[in-house]
């Protein structure tokens, strides 16, 4: 565009100078009129260029990369919510979890591929460094290719919190909050709160100890009380507010060596010291950062009820 204008400008210049030469002998105003015209033209050209450039710049500054919606075909399960005792907190404190909808299973490889197909800025080669460490979609051979041998319906892993958060937005949803996730996680196959059963924590820890679980397909095991699949047996999951776990090191006693790190830090300490699986989860959450991508860390989405 600028080069076109440029050549046009040169042409006009030449024409007008010829005109000047021809009409040199004529009266002054005959010469002055085209010259004025020419001056005006150049001036306006420069101005135009300037404004064009400015608008380009502001566009860059103010218009965010647009995100495109993706189709979400996963069934969502209604969780009626209620009061529950969070793993961290004082012994008497309960948190009210409002009713919400949760994906019945984690987001899969295939779904994430669809997401990066229509949102190129989240492809492996395009993602901004601020949103990930350097193992984002580590095993993908290229931008739009799942790893060899990867099952399309296995949960997606090696994604940062930012990627998960954006995926959820594009699906018209959000990430599950930590309280929501733990609320659903209280259930076993028969009851919505199985925390007091001795077998509950042990079973989960056993699952956590199995290796390479993340390569299996979703929904191959039995759902829990709510009809939600794969809470423990395949992957760890990002939660919306994973960064709300304010502990450092061993927090079983509720004593903090790093009091200065946290305002009101001692308001949170473990309520159920026998729940070893929960310790593992909260330990995980408190040790990761939002740009981390990990081989067995994926996510699922949730939504407010209307």
């Amino acid at each position: 565009m600028p080069t076109q204008k440029f050549t046009l400008q040169i042409k006009l210049l030449l024409q007008n100078s010829l005109l000047v030469v021809e009409k040199y002998k004529c009266r002054r105003f005959v010469i002055i009129v085209p010259i004025c015209f020419l001056l005006f033209f150049i001036e306006s050209c420069i101005k135009e260029e300037n404004t064009e450039h400015k608008s380009e710049k502001t566009q860059f500054l103010n218009v965010p990369d647009s995100l495109y919606l993706i189709k979400a075909n996963v069934k969502m399960v209604y969780i009626k919510g209620g009061n529950y005792k969070p793993f961290f907190g004082s012994n008497t404190a309960t948190v009210n979890v409002k009713p919400f909808l949760i994906d019945e299973r984690p987001v899969t490889n295939k779904e994430f591929l669809e997401f990066v197909k229509i949102n190129p800025q989240w492809r492996k080669s395009k993602i901004k460094k601020i949103f990930t460490d350097n193992t984002y979609l580590r095993d993908w051979p290229s931008d739009l290719e799942l790893p060899k041998n990867a099952k399309p319906d296995a949960p997606i892993c090696f994604v940062s919190w930012y990627a998960a958060n954006t995926f959820a937005k594009c699906a018209g949803k959000r990430l599950v909050t930590l309280d929501e996730w733990e609320f659903v996680a209280m259930a076993d196959a028969d009851t919505f709160n199985a925390r007091n059963k001795p077998s509950y924590s042990n079973k989960i820890v056993d699952l956590y100890l199995q290796k390479e679980r993340q390569y299996n397909s979703v929904k191959q095991t039995a759902p829990n009380y709510w009809g939600v699949y794969n809470m423990f047996d395949l992957i760890w999951e990002w939660t919306d507010d994973f960064n709300s776990v304010l502990t450092t090191g061993d927090s079983r006693t509720g004593k903090y060596d790093d009091k200065n790190l946290f305002c009101a830090g001692s308001a949170t300490s473990a309520t159920d010291v026998m729940n070893y699986a929960a310790f593992m989860r909260f330990g995980m959450r408190s040790s990761i950062k939002a740009n981390y991508t990990i081989s067995n860390l994926g996510f699922r989405c949730a939504k407010d009820t209307l």
Binding site: P2, F6, Q9, L13, S17, V20, V21, Y24, I31, I35, L38, L39, I42, C45, I46, E49, N50, H53, K57, F60, L61, N62, P64, D65, K128, K129, I130, F131, W161, Y162, N165, K169, R174, D240, D241, N243, S244, V245, L246, D258, N260, L261, F262, C263, A264, G265, A267, T268, S286, K289, A290, N291
Partner: protein
């Protein structure tokens, strides 16, 4: 004679417009953001005057950022006094190249009006002070950028980690101080960053 003058004039104007083009190209390069810049975040924020801005509107100055909530009675006042301390220790030339940014973790309570009032009450209502709030998801995202932890423990109370972060004028993280924040370290880093950037 006239012909010569006019031709000279043409060439002058011609070369002038050429120079303009060159300048444009240079500017375009400057606008390119580093991939690890916080200006890549697309969230919308409101400042204490209720004006809607993107983080990238803050580019061009060294940023000293802290996340707080104004109804905090415990650690935030300390953080705020540390920020003021930083402001007072920076020399006058440096101050012009710095924005001191306070980001609310309680967007519900900290409306622009509330932030404005707070800024006036604390004598932080002029440059280089900027107060920001957004929605919860954007706040969460920003806290994650700072690796800052926070949790709402009651409607008016939050637990949160105490971090002051310095970004250079392109929005790249320079340094962070967590916990027992050493103001002098931050002032030194800010001055060094200004030397590099300007």
């Amino acid at each position: 004679m006239k012909l010569i003058i006019y031709t000279a004039l043409f060439f002058f104007l011609f070369s002038y417009s050429c120079n303009q083009h060159d300048k444009h190209d240079e500017k375009d390069e400057l606008v390119e953001l580093p991939s690890n810049s916080i200006f890549n975040l697309n969230s919308k924020w409101q400042n204490q005057d209720g004006k809607e801005i993107y983080l990238r509107n803050l580019q061009g100055k060294v940023l000293v950022v802290v996340m707080i909530y104004t109804s905090c009675k415990t650690a935030c006042p300390i953080l705020i006094s540390k920020m003021k301390n930083i402001a007072s220790k920076l020399n006058k030339d440096d101050i012009n190249n710095v924005s001191l940014v306070l980001v609310s973790i309680d967007p519900e309570t900290d409306t622009p009006e509330h932030l404005k009032e707070f800024s006036i009450n604390n004598a932080m209502d002029k440059n280089p002070w900027i107060f920001l709030r957004s929605n919860e998801n954007a706040t969460q995202e920003f806290a994650n950028i700072l690796a800052m932890k926070y949790k709402k423990i009651s409607p008016l109370d939050f637990s949160h980690s105490n971090i002051i972060t310095v970004f250079n004028s392109k929005g790249q993280l320079v340094t962070q101080e967590e916990g027992d924040i050493n103001v002098d370290n931050i002032v030194e880093k800010v001055s060094n960053t200004i030397l590099k950037d300007f």
